[in-house]
Subunit: 222 residues, 2 copies
């Protein structure tokens, strides 16, 4: 079992702290980011091992402040996948009186998508927009560019004003464009410019925001 | 709304096919991969928009064959996160008589981790190993290197012989080493060499394997 000797000896409770230290020691110049933005980018790199995020993660100027305000006031986080929903920290949401929801598996959403020839992701945005028209809603879109496009349309038409859009869909068809649309929409955003992103990236951003307000070690609000 | 004019006009049902075409047109030389391995790598790139996976996704020689055989014979897929669990295609699993499980939230696992000073991920591997000692089990590890290390130990001690290990934990502490251990263990593996990976990568690999056997359009087995 000599191969086990190559392992670094780090206590379970210290693995994340050690990871963050390694990221800081390797990521070079992060001076374009505020301290809170830096926390978010660090968690995204921790989640992807991809240092590209230092350059491609874009924040509207007040996005972090707006997000923290929203999370302190019972925000609803709407995700575009069940995977993202299952990744957002439930203890943190609960402690803050927030919740996370996903409508992708709702039969009404599937029916509406079929009827209108759209994706389920776009139909799920419409569904959420109706449900939370005047609410405190954070959209966390880690998969479907069509969800971001539909958000842009509703925002442009004055029918929706999200507290924050986390826009990190990944892929090759309309992904780059959908992110540009959201960054031009006038709402607070945190977006991974270009093709990269994913559900785990959206979750890392949401959890990093939640962990500004919630201490995982004690379960207390900060 | 002129910005919407920049969008590529692709029908919802064609987005994935179009994405795969784009990947094939950009990824260069994929001749080191078999046709089935190529499907898997393509889905991982589709999931990450990261062409690095063309070089870093490593297959033991018979891994794909072994995996398809296992999935045709009622395999249990054990994931190391609830996120990964929620991403594996449930209709495909059901049609094949397979199932996916995750023990990370099991109170017995948390208690055992506390007692033994290990991570929950390592304790969850022990739990699964006891439960499925002689079973047809695929481990899909997209997060925790400590899960891979524990798998390596159990395999080395002759106490476990997984049908396949999908080893794509991501990060900075013992991630590279844990993957090397699994690649030296003698069991069939699909591993993302280096630091990169993640739950979405593990899910993409599992689903790509499932979609070799299950037609999503018709719901029929292939």
């Amino acid at each position: 079992m000599s191969m086990l000797g190559s392992l670094e000896n780090v206590l379970p409770a210290d693995i994340e702290r050690r990871s963050m230290e390694i990221i800081e020691s390797e990521w070079g110049d992060a001076s374009h980011l505020t301290p809170l933005q830096r926390q978010i980018v660090k968690r995204v790199i921790h989640t992807t091992a991809d240092f590209d995020y230092l350059g491609i993660l874009k924040f509207s100027p007040t996005a972090v402040d707006d997000a923290l305000y929203a999370l302190r006031h019972n925000a609803v986080i709407v995700t575009d996948t069940q995977m993202a929903l299952s990744g957002v920290s439930k203890p943190a949401l609960k402690a803050l009186g927030c919740e996370a929801v996903c409508f992708m598996s709702d039969p009404a959403v599937a029916a509406s998508a079929r009827e209108n020839g759209t994706t389920r992701a776009a139909a799920a945005v419409d569904y959420a927009a109706q449900r939370y028209a005047d609410g405190n809603v954070i959209f966390a879109v880690g998969n479907a560019p069509t969800a971001l496009v539909r958000l842009y349309e509703l925002i442009s038409e004055g029918r929706l004003r999200p507290s924050l859009v986390v826009g990190t869909p990944v892929g090759f068809v309309n992904v780059v464009q959908s992110k540009r649309l959201i960054m031009s929409s006038g709402v607070p955003y945190i977006v991974s410019e270009g093709r990269k992103g994913g559900s785990t990236v959206a979750v890392a951003i949401c959890n990093s925001l939640l962990y500004q307000l919630y201490d995982r070690a004690t379960g207390n609000l900060l």
